[in-house]
């Protein structure tokens, strides 16, 4: 599902964040809204003051004297209640939040101090922290209704410094029941001072999702392309736990992480026993991955032995484990109970083979970019296959 579109903009001094409304609202309800004008809403027929900005797919008849973006390339992805940011006179319209979706993200920076070979959000060395923080603070104000979960992601969120603490404090104030999950490489947490300050925020519902790719420092550092990263990440996990911060470990499964996967989960069990969850994740064919595909690609169907061994290893030790981003046809049935529908709604795709599959409703599907690269073993599952009925009915 589309995230951005472009149009022609005018009258912007700065970026504007607002909630889309396609309906006309009384003046006292306009302050948070961006008015989306349909062709039949002629802009001179109503007094439009009080809205933050105007949006229109078509050309507006007369130039408004307030911020506007018209002649949008696409607009059918925009719905009432969506929160969007209009990025100034460049004319970019970016959807930030869709209330009807299951998964929500707060994107805080493109900067990162790692450079993972399979990064789905390749970093940019441009200081966007102040601008994005201002935008996100506004976004937090506008989010309604409050979602049960919110993921904070980037880049590397801890590079925000104090700004991350500001965002978390604001979230604690305005939606304390919303469970926050921060995707971070955890390296900053290795500094005890940082972990302590983070814990002092005392957010009641927060956890960290930290990737670890090997039990071997060199192998992990190679995957994340940063020397010393393994040492810092492991130390970071410890400091976080010691300060009472809940942590989860994530592992992306590919050719570099599969060979020692059981060694890795054993390392987690013995050294990071406090982690509350381990997520074993399928590779996303996006971002850096296509460039590094030779080093990374292994058909998920071909690593079921290793995956089953690692999952059994953790399960027998009472560690909570989930499998993300894998299709049920590619997983062994013994692993189906660990598979979650984890792909964000706007990324999900099903192939033609999927149309006749009995497991469709239980399966998480594929990523949109999977059309370019996916397992050779995607196939329709019939109801008569053992285990299918239990999982899918």
């Amino acid at each position: 599902m589309r995230l951005t579109t472009m149009g022609v903009a005018g009258n912007f001094e700065t970026s504007i964040v607002g909630i889309l409304t396609a309906e006309s609202l009384p003046p006292d309800q306009r302050t948070k809204r961006i008015r989306f004008l349909a062709p039949c809403d002629a802009s001179d027929d109503e007094n439009l003051s009080g809205y933050r900005a105007l949006l229109s797919h078509d050309e507006l008849q007369s130039v408004p004297n307030m911020p506007f973006v018209h002649r949008l390339r696409e607009s059918d992805h925009l719905k009432d209640g969506d929160i969007v940011v209009l990025e100034g006179n460049a004319g970019l319209v970016r959807s930030l939040y869709r209330p009807y979706e299951q998964h929500h993200h707060l994107f805080v920076t493109e900067r990162c101090n790692s450079n993972c070979l399979m990064c789905s959000q390749p970093p940019k060395d441009r200081d966007d922290v102040d601008a994005l923080t201002a935008r996100n603070l506004e976004l937090i104000n506008l989010i309604t209704p409050h979602p049960p979960y919110l993921t904070i992601t980037g880049g590397e969120p801890t590079l925000l410094g104090d700004n991350l603490f500001t965002l978390i404090s604001q979230l604690k104030l305005s939606m304390p029941e919303t469970e926050l999950h921060i995707l971070t490489n955890g390296r900053t947490f290795a500094w005890p001072e940082y972990s302590r300050r983070f814990a002092e925020l005392e957010h009641p519902n927060i956890s960290l999702g930290i990737p670890l790719y090997s039990d071997s420092a060199g192998a992990h550092d190679y995957v994340v392309q940063a020397r010393g990263a393994f040492d810092q990440t492991v130390a970071g996990l410890h400091q976080a736990a010691r300060n009472g911060i809940r942590v989860e470990v994530r592992v992306v499964l590919h050719k570099l992480t599969i060979p020692r996967l059981t060694n890795l989960v054993d390392y987690i069990y013995r050294n990071l026993t406090f982690v509350e969850h381990i997520a074993l994740m399928g590779l996303e064919y996006t971002g850096y991955t296509p460039r590094n595909i030779e080093a990374l690609w292994i058909d998920p169907y071909d690593y079921q032995d290793e995956l089953e061994e690692a999952v059994a290893y953790l399960a027998v030790r009472n560690m909570t484990v989930s499998i993300y981003n894998h299709q049920l046809c590619v997983l062994r049935p013994s692993l189906w109970s660990y598979a979650r529908k984890s792909i964000s709604d706007w990324k999900t795709l099903y192939l033609p083979e999927c149309e006749t599959c009995s497991a469709l409703s239980a399966c998480g599907g594929l990523f949109q970019w999977a059309v370019k690269k996916h397992s050779d073993h995607i196939r329709s599952i019939s109801l008569s296959q053992p285990g299918v009925a239990q999982k899918c009915l």
């Binding site: 900067r111 390296r187 900053t188 005890p192 940082y194 010393g228």
Partner: protein, 138 residues
């Protein structure tokens, strides 16, 4: 080692193990004998500065086969105790440090992380929130 047992007569059947004193220290030899004293009376004699002899006299009647096995077992065990001594020599310092860390108050004996923390943007800021720790090795 008990040297007063009446079974240690000159003609009592026993195993004799030759130990290279440059490979196995007196302490390692004593430790080995300790474990064999349940079933054997152990006598150590230094034949010369290079070789020690250990006389293993069984406390209960033993066959020639059992004596030969005991001799092999003793030799292996002595070499293992020699290895343990080497390991201890190499690791006792770090073991002390480790146990000190394990039983000290939280934070008192901890090391700060090594390596560089930030990304290139952070490194260009003179007064950023994070102090950049650079590791000369990198």
């Amino acid at each position: 080692m008990d040297q007063s047992e009446s079974i240690c007569t000159p003609d009592a059947p026993r195993a004799v193990v030759e130990i290279d004193r440059s490979m196995v220290s007196a302490e390692a030899l004593l430790k080995t004998c300790y474990w064999f004293t349940r079933d054997f009376v152990c006598e150590i004699r230094n034949r010369n500065e290079h070789v020690a002899e250990v006389f293993l006299t069984p406390r209960n009647p033993a066959s020639a086969f059992e004596l030969a096995s005991a001799k092999n077992a003793f030799t292996t065990s002595a070499m293992d105790f020699a290895l343990r001594e080497k390991i201890e020599a190499k690791t006792s310092g770090i073991r002390d440090l480790l146990l000190a860390k394990a039983f000290s108050e939280s934070g008192v004996l901890e090391d700060l992380p090594e390596g560089v923390f930030g990304d290139t943007v952070e490194e260009m800021k003179p007064g950023g929130m994070f102090k950049i720790l650079s590791n000369p090795k990198h």
